[in-house]
Symmetry: C2
Subunit: 315 residues, 2 copies
């Protein structure tokens, strides 16, 4: 059932021993919103912890505080920025998938798996929703929370570049800056810094670029071998995903990365009028109009065929 | 003499036949603020025109309207986003350098060459100042003006990434979006699109990267030959200027580009605590704390030595 922001705040205020779930391959938004909610709940005297399937990327580890671990029996389960049970990962999904009490999300593709859902698909990031929720819990947004939320909003919008940015997004960012977030440092670290290993991966990835359909579709393929040779890792892949769409004339850009288990995760980015979520839905994935994803289990060549056949329907 | 925003509006309301000067190698901010001021003045019944030494880059040509040309004898001269007379270029500087009535600027290095100066060095862009000035003239900010001002603010801040962004910057961007600016399209065209020729230049430029002082200084050099081979041009150089500082560990990044007359224009970008304006001042240039520039007239090797000697003083 869909519920309002007010009802969400009231519900949380009545509960204790709260587990907050974040999605696999955790990004700035699921972590920024998850840890901020956790710290807000703990600041008003509740037990709360963050649970996720995968390790937190180094650059986001600062969000975690002592006491954020599971040290109690969860009685109330909240999923943040998780559109489907599958995105919880195998273990977390197995344990909590059918008992999520509340989901706070901004994905239009949310499968409504939770008992109550606070869904705002006009929000650029789940962190926008948490920004409004925290004061309603009677908690204060500290400098640390402001930085975590700023990371959520800025990473989900490509640092305010994508079409999901609204006037509200920019005003929330302004408020977070006034609450003490060192936005210039965060932007520099996240958006303006390349490790040497990433620079190497980027060169290899650009070298793999293939153009199809008269230059309207650009595909980059990154293999486990490339990760190994460059010394880079999958955490840094997001920035590669943005590259194919940047070439002039491209309407759909896809970046396909081989995972350790041999399947390929595909990130699709579109320019209007094409809709990335519609494209990925046909391949059992989902996401947003301009940025979506799916997982393909074939070989590299088979997956390329799947992508070409699917995208042909939209061009 | 420094004057206030209110005094600036009153002054402009008393004048007519107004020439608005923009700087050489015109960027989004000098053009966005110059054309918006011009259109605001014309909308309240005044003669106004924009005068600049160099051609407008294609992507900004939409800002120009019929009637923006000089078709009257200028009686009042306004410089926007021009810190020194030298930045007007030879012809414009010769004609107007000693008779600028009003300068509207945000550069802390402004040489105060104008009779009256509206200087706000807390503004990320001159366009922020024009955004506040236009309503005080009794003019309305149209969708077209909002887009020109958004371009000014976004290009001067690297699309809200740099340290010059303030809460005010973000709120002005939110207001401009509400005034009709299609920010997503502008961001895509300016920040997320690479022409094939630029992609080629970028590859060459990255190949020229040299590291000095234990990786604290990174230098990229782009020659006229590279512009020729890639088919790219100097308008696209701004994006190259940002690259050297992005490498992890770099405190000063410089990009040196050979101009058609054989001199080299140097763009310097720093990470705190280093100050790009201080570095460039020692080489007869200027700019902002994080982004500044200068022109060097030696050979490529001589200029590199000049840069190394100057930057050594700060490391």
């Amino acid at each position: 059932m869909k519920i309002s922001l007010e009802a969400t705040a009231e519900m949380l205020l009545c509960k204790d021993n709260i587990a907050i779930l974040v999605h696999t391959h955790p990004d700035g938004d699921t972590l920024g919103s998850g840890y901020t909610l956790c710290h807000a709940l703990r600041s008003i005297g509740k037990n709360a912890c963050v649970i996720g399937e995968d390790e937190i990327p180094d650059r986001y580890k600062f969000m975690k505080e002592d006491g954020d671990e599971e040290s109690f029996d969860p009685e109330f389960v909240v999923a943040v920025d998780i559109a489907t049970v599958k995105l919880m990962g195998d273990c977390v999904g197995e344990r909590f998938g059918d008992r999520v009490d509340l989901c706070i999300d901004h994905h239009v593709t949310n499968s409504m798996y939770a008992k109550s859902v606070l869904l705002d698909d006009t929000a650029s990031a789940a962190s926008e929703i948490i920004f409004r929720l925290v004061p309603m819990l009677g908690a204060k947004i500290s400098k640390e929370m402001a930085e975590a939320l700023y990371i959520g909003v800025s990473t989900d919008t490509g640092c305010f570049r994508y079409s999901n940015v609204t006037p509200t997004t920019l005003r929330i960012a302004a408020d977070l800056m006034e609450l003490g977030a060192d936005c210039a440092r965060i932007n520099r670290e996240i958006f303006e810094t390349k490790s040497r290993s990433f620079a190497e991966l980027e060169r290899m990835a650009l070298g793999s670029t293939e153009l199809f359909f008269d230059g309207k579709f650009a595909l980059i393929t990154v293999t486990q071998q490339m990760f190994k040779e460059s010394g880079s890792n999958e955490d840094e892949f997001d920035k590669i995903a943005a590259l194919p769409r940047q070439i002039e004339g491209v309407l759909v850009g896809a970046a396909m990365r081989e995972q350790k288990n041999g399947t390929f995760k595909v990130s699709v980015r579109t320019n209007p009028p094409l809709n990335a979520a519609e494209i990925c839905t046909l391949m059992n994935g989902g996401g947003h109009p301009a940025a979506a994803g799916c997982t393909l289990t074939g070989t590299k060549e088979e997956n390329k065929e799947t992508l070409l056949k699917t995208i042909a329907k939209f061009l």
